[in-house]
Amino acid sequence: MIKIDHLSKSFGKIKAVDAISFEVAEGENLILLGTSGCGKTTTLKMINRLIDPTGGKVFINGENIMDQSPELLRRGIGYVLQNNGLFPHYTVAENIAIVPQLLNWDKKQIERRVSELLEKLHLDKKYLSVYPNELSGGQQQRVGLARALVADPPVLLMDEPFGALDNVTRSKIQAEFKALDELKRKTIVMVTHDVQEAFELGDRICLMDKGKIVQIGTPAELLFNPANAFVKDFLKEQRLQLEFKALRLNDIWKYLPSQTPKQGSINLHGDVSFWSAIESFKFTSTEHLHIKHHKKDEYRSAGFEELMAAFYQYKKQQPHE
């Protein structure tokens, strides 16, 4: 879907981005992770031509973005900024409707789409005619997301979308974000410097340092197969939590007790992270989880202890770091 080919950007002598290449598959959520100043934002902005590269190419759907008019290109790419960048002189409804206006949708269609999004993002209708400065940070961020999603662009770029929020609000919005059906279909490139967030939301993570890619891969690959000491070091903190987040139930499938399916009792799929599985004990009263492998027709059942045991068995099998 998105192909980055030896992309570079220099600001004078500073090489902000240094000949990086990667691809993002359709429907994938790729996280650009790295320390401050490593070139994440610059990379992201080159994808919708907010910044013109000094070298290399970007293809979206096989088409070089430099061959398109920047305005048309951008109308097909959702963009969410760290501090939302809502128009202070537009109401919430007008803010969300900016791109449809540019695309000349008719009024009815815009209205329908805006209220649909509000509902999905858990925003009350009463906020429609309110100005952004009357909203909380979390609400503003939701509106920012709605604005990016409104025209249903296939590609979404997000620059630290949850960076400005407090921890509680952030995890709440992150959870909503994960659950949002609209996002499942989208190809997303998201910037963050929060490792936990990257592990929670990313299908793959692209870890950058000084304008170069250090390692790109799934969270588990980065965690259990780090390319070098930098990667290992970067993921050092709260490692256990990261491991919980990196592992899918599928990964520890063979260590889980098998079970014949009971009708209607499946509450988890195998592609869910280990972290979510443990968390689900918090929210449901069940002692046992009934899990279905998300590809094969196999079933497992586990209580909290059995899950943890399976995790440690899996860990023992990994090559020693």
């Binding site: 919708n48 907010l50 920047p70 305005e71 048309l72 290109l73 951008r74 109308r75 097909g76 790419i77 963009y79 900024l81 760290q82 501090n83 939302n84 960048g85 809502l86 128009f87 202070p88 002189h89 109401t91 900016i98 791109v99 540019l102 100005y131 604005r147």
Partner: protein
């Protein structure tokens, strides 16, 4: 206080027509220039917000324009644009430019960068970003600039009356020259109220929330245009000829008021400052002006004085006035001073003034040349038999006369001379005389009658029609009250006069003010 207010109200009520006209002109001038300033300043501000390198020079130039004193700026305009509305509007708009450009620039550069980035990222074009994002967000700051410019313009527009563009300055400056407080206030109070009113209205506009601002931004241009039109309503009438009178002349009985009441002269009139009036007439911006009959500019610009056939202008015949005790102390003095009696008529004096004012010859040289030409010159005797002290007021004609008397006294008597020239106006000069600081200076009968003696209206009416009567009246009164003697008049009359370009006057066959009236009434 109460009485003062009463009379002010009376004055305003009595002059309500003029007051309305001037107020409308004032509003019109303010807003025409404001609109043009916005039309220039806004795009320029946008431009320098895009090309920031140019912001320094552009703001610098606009800043320098604003430091030029208003009168000087108006003066610069005359050779380029003549007199009237055009130069006034241009001058006003130059003053209004800086706050508008500066605030547009500040407003645009102050728009939150992340908002601008979001606009770009959503695929808005440059123009869409400008009109939908940047300008609306910068609008409060831009409006503040327009507000400043408006208040500046209301103030500076009072000066428009210097160059015949009308406005409340006519009352203000007329009142100042005529020492008429009510007239000053009748101009100053409405001007101040206009400034306060516009400031208030624009501040309300600024406070409107962003939503309403969109509507306001649409209404504003329309409103400004309507206000600007005010200027054209009053000046919609015209005439065959245009007269330019000084603010002082406008308000005087022996000026425009007399022209109307005694002659019934109805002429399209603009108010203009003395400094630019003659030139404006020369350049055919004006046809009839109110001047002084011996002014050197009369000659410089080829103007001719219309005869005051109904004698509404009091005679201002010049004559030396001398302290009685000085005449006793210097017995030769009177005879010597009277050598000039009747020797200088209007055109001769005009020519002499022309030499000093336009050819920049020194008064001493002009005086000596004149005396030589009239066989009155005698070399100095180097006398030491006492010193005669001669004074003069602070303008060219008086310097020339003082120099002539100096040369004559030194040549014909054994007295020495000390000159104290440049004694400000009439009051300073006359006070120096009564306080025994000087012995003599040249004075004018009209000034003696009106400014020094401050004669009653009855006496004035009785004598001003006739130069002899005026002369005799001041002569007797000065002797009686101050022991000062009026010697024989020099011959010229430096009075108020209406003048026209000689060529035009000849063409139209206008020689007297009555001729002028007849011409104007002819279809």
């Amino acid at each position: 206080m109460n009485e003062q207010q009463q009379t002010l109200w009376q004055f305003m009520a009595q002059q309500s027509d003029k007051l309305l006209t001037q107020t409308l002109q004032h509003i019109g001038l303010t807003f025409i220039s404001l609109i043009i300033a916005v039309l220039i300043g806004l795009p320029l501000g946008i431009f320098i917000a895009r090309k920031r390198k140019l912001s320094g020079p552009v703001l610098g130039v606009a800043g320098v324009l604003q430091t030029i004193p208003s009168i000087a700026l108006l003066g610069f305009m005359i050779p380029l644009l003549g007199i009237g509305a055009k130069p006034a509007i241009v001058a006003l708009l130059l003053y209004a430019l800086l706050p508008i450009i500066r605030n547009t620039y500040t407003g645009l550069t102050g728009v939150d960068a992340s908002v601008k980035e979001a606009a770009v990222a959503m695929g808005m074009s440059k123009w869409q970003i400008l009109f939908k994002v940047e300008l609306p967000l910068a609008m409060p700051v831009i409006l503040a600039g327009i507000r400043t410019a408006t208040v500046i313009n209301v103030g500076v527009a009072t000066l428009a009356s210097y160059i015949a563009a009308g406005g409340l300055g006519e009352f203000i400056f007329g009142g100042i020259s005529l020492n008429n407080t009510n007239m000053i206030l009748a101009g100053a109070i409405p001007a101040a109220l206009l400034a306060i009113l516009f400031d208030f209205l624009l501040s309300r506009l600024q406070d409107l929330n962003l939503k309403k601002l969109k509507t306001a931004a649409a209404i504003l241009p329309v409103l400004l245009l309507i206000l600007a039109c005010f200027y054209f309503i009053p000046s919609a009438y015209g005439g065959k000829l245009t007269a330019g009178f000084t603010p002082e002349f406008m308000g005087r009985q022996d000026g425009n008021l007399g022209l109307r009441s005694k002659y019934g002269l109805k002429i399209h009139t603009v108010v203009i400052s003395d400094a630019v009036m003659y030139k404006a007439c020369f350049e055919k911006e004006l046809d009839v002006i109110s001047g002084y009959s011996t002014d050197g500019r009369l000659k410089a610009y080829g103007l001719v004085v219309l005869d005051d056939d109904k004698k509404i202008f009091p005679p201002y015949y010049a004559a030396p006035i001398v302290r009685d005790d000085a005449l006793q102390k210097f017995p030769e003095l009177e005879k010597t001073l009277n050598l000039l009696s009747g020797k200088i008529n209007d055109s001769v004096m005009t020519d002499l003034n022309y030499r000093t004012d336009y050819l920049h010859q020194t008064p001493e040289r002009v005086a000596k040349d004149f005396l030589v030409a009239h066989n009155l010159y005698q070399p100095e005797r180097g006398g030491s038999n006492g010193t005669v002290r001669i004074g003069s007021k602070i303008f060219g004609e008086q310097y020339i006369l003082a120099s002539m008397y100096t040369i004559l006294i030194k040549g014909y008597t054994d007295y020495d001379v000390a000159t104290k020239t440049g004694l400000g106006g009439t009051k300073i000069c006359f006070d120096a005389m009564t306080n025994n600081q000087i012995d003599l200076y040249p004075e004018y009968t009209g000034t003696g009658l009106l400014a020094i003696l401050q004669a009653s209206q009855k006496d004035i009416d009785a004598v001003t029609g006739d130069k002899e009567k005026t002369y005799n009246y001041v002569k007797n009164e000065f002797e009686r009250r101050y022991h000062i003697k009026w010697l024989q008049p020099l011959g010229f009359n430096n009075a108020y006069a209406l003048m026209m370009r000689k060529k035009q006057a000849d063409q139209l066959g206008v020689k007297t003010i009555s001729n002028l009236k007849q011409y104007l009434e002819r279809k």
